[in-house]
Amino acid sequence: MSDMMKVSSNPHVRSGVTTSNIMMWVVIALLPAAGFGIYNFGIDALIILILSVLSTVLTEFCFEKVLNKKITVGDFSAVVTGLLLGMNLPSTAPWWLPVIGGIFAILVVKMLFGGLGQNFMNPALGARCFLLISFPAFMTNFTTDTYTSATPLAALKAGEEVSVIDMIIGKIPGTIGETSMIAIVVGACILIMLGIIDLKIPGSYIVSFVLFIIIFGGHGLNGAYISAQLAGGGLMLGAFFMATDYVTCPITAKGKYIYGVFLGILTGIFRVFGVSAEGVSYAIIIGNLIVPLIEKYTIPRAFGIRPVEKKEEKKA
């Protein structure tokens, strides 16, 4: 209540929504997928997740301590980054992989650019790509005690049959957090119901991706192929949790649709024509880079201002 009675300049009406609130809900929404990952891959997955969260939080804390800045660990954004990063790693990763990834995500991608709100790309994805380029062997080793086959997407690319039901439930090899479509959608529903994310980006992302697959996938309107492409890899996790990152997605409504379609097409290109079977993380990172451009061209017109006048203003 006292928060709502502050004497200050406008705005006078404040909601109780804060960064830490939102980030906490994102963490809660990520838990089903993370929990399924732990159930699916065992104790290794839990250790990876804990290490990656610890390394992001500690990096942020130490950086701010050393530079005498305000400690912002309490806003949970580092926890979200760490959790997302851990969910993007295979459970077979050695212990130092999430640690290096966490340090890179926070130190280089987030803090050196000015901290939360200033980073131009998603820290978790930036770190994932950093690790993927640096340690490709560790990052694509999905062989565990339970799973010895290739990931369904790789199998699909090789032209083999895959079980779509298993992919939707999540009983497949892959990174810790991406396997279960159901768990991710449950988490996404929580966020959508709370109004933390909306369907603009994930919707346009997935729809444009499906259209791309139908047109260029080489299988036409094959239901099994399309649903396997949807459920496989990091598409769901990326569309609902990483493409919708507040800092690195456009703020305008029109921009969100453009961004989503751009991501869908890029992912399709990477998956269909690329060498690797997966392309979500690179697609979102490239999408992050064009966000300022999208925002520049989709600034909504203020009520009552005619476009001609605006042009003249720009010239002057």
Partner: protein
């Protein structure tokens, strides 16, 4: 390092020693002026590449600076760039042939970047900004200082990229499997997994950014201590622009305005109006429609001639 800086700033202008330190530290082409980024980012995958590239560039830079300085009164101003290219290209060819004959391994490793020294911004920048205006001896030492500054910077970049990205230092395995370090320390080192991204292009940007940040911090600390750092970062290619005094610019503009008025006056007396819009077009680059409308009032047209120029200068 700080003592050297003091010396570089305290030395008499245009002496060999001052030029040398100026290129090495105060106006380091890579870390302060930030020119010649193409070889800096492209060939620094290992320290030895950096050294070779830097020394080749230093050789070309010093000798081309000296020759251009000798020829500075002979070269006509209008064709100076082609003339510089001829001088620089002959030295680059020399370097290229010598390297091909005696160090074929490095020649193969550096590949296209050796001939590309011809268009290196540092060499052009020094030729244009320094050698073409100063005597032979300071120009020669300016080239050596700049070249060694470049060499040091890209060697350090190469060293870090090689060490982090491959675990080697001048091709000797320090970290990672097969480490030459003996004993338990060596065992510890051999566990290191090279971070491959540093060998790739993205790593060059990361290492370069960190080095520039360190250089800026050094400069910042010096400013804090009250040392004169006004020379830091000023000069090189940009010296002509930076030094320009706002008062001088204004005077020049006023002179231009006067000249324009003098030129415009006889034209207004002439009855044939065909020539006026043409003149307008050349001077201001405005659309012809605007020029023809402005034709009626010569005073207005002069104003329009001057204002865009002013904006450019600002």
């Amino acid at each position: 390092m700080s003592e050297e800086n003091k010396g570089a700033l305290g030395f008499k202008q245009d002496t060999p020693a001052e030029r040398f330190l100026n290129g090495l530290i105060v106006e380091n082409p890579t870390l302060v002026l930030m020119i010649g980024m193409c070889p800096t980012l492209a060939v620094t995958t290992s320290a030895i590449n950096g050294v070779t590239m830097g020394l080749a560039t230093t050789f070309v830079l010093a000798l081309s600076n000296a020759v251009i300085s000798l020829l500075r009164k002979v070269i006509p101003d209008t064709v100076r760039i082609p003339a510089f290219i001829v001088v620089i290209a002959s030295f680059v060819t020399l370097v290229q042939l010598v390297m091909q004959a005696y160090v074929p391994v490095m020649y193969a490793a550096l590949g296209v970047y050796i001939p590309l020294i011809v268009v290196n911004c540092i060499i052009f920048g020094r030729a244009e900004a320094y050698a073409s205006k100063h005597n032979v001896v300071p120009s020669f030492f300016d080239g050596i200082g700049m070249g060694l500054g470049f060499t040091c910077a890209i060697t350090v970049i190469g060293l870090f990229r090689e060490l982090i990205g491959g675990g080697t230092m001048f091709d000797v395995q320090i970290f990672g499997e097969g480490s030459v370090v003996p004993g338990p320390v060596g065992y510890f080192f051999s566990l290191y997994q090279p971070i491959r991204i540093f060998i790739q292009q993205a790593g060059a940007f990361i290492v370069l950014a960190v080095l520039i940040a360190i250089m800026n911090q050094v400069k910042f600390n010096m400013e804090k201590k009250g040392k004169d750092t006004s020379k830091f970062g000023v000069g090189g290619c940009c010296s002509d622009v930076e030094i320009k005094d706002p008062k001088k610019v204004k005077e020049e503009l006023l002179a231009k305005e006067k000249a324009a008025k003098l030129e415009a006056k006889p034209e207004t007396i002439k009855p044939g109006d065909i020539k006026a819009p043409e003149k307008e077009k050349v001077l201001s680059g405005f659309e012809q429609i605007k020029a023809t409308t402005a034709q009626a009032n010569t005073n207005a047209s002069i104003k329009e001639v001057v204002t865009p120029g002013e904006e450019d200068k600002k």
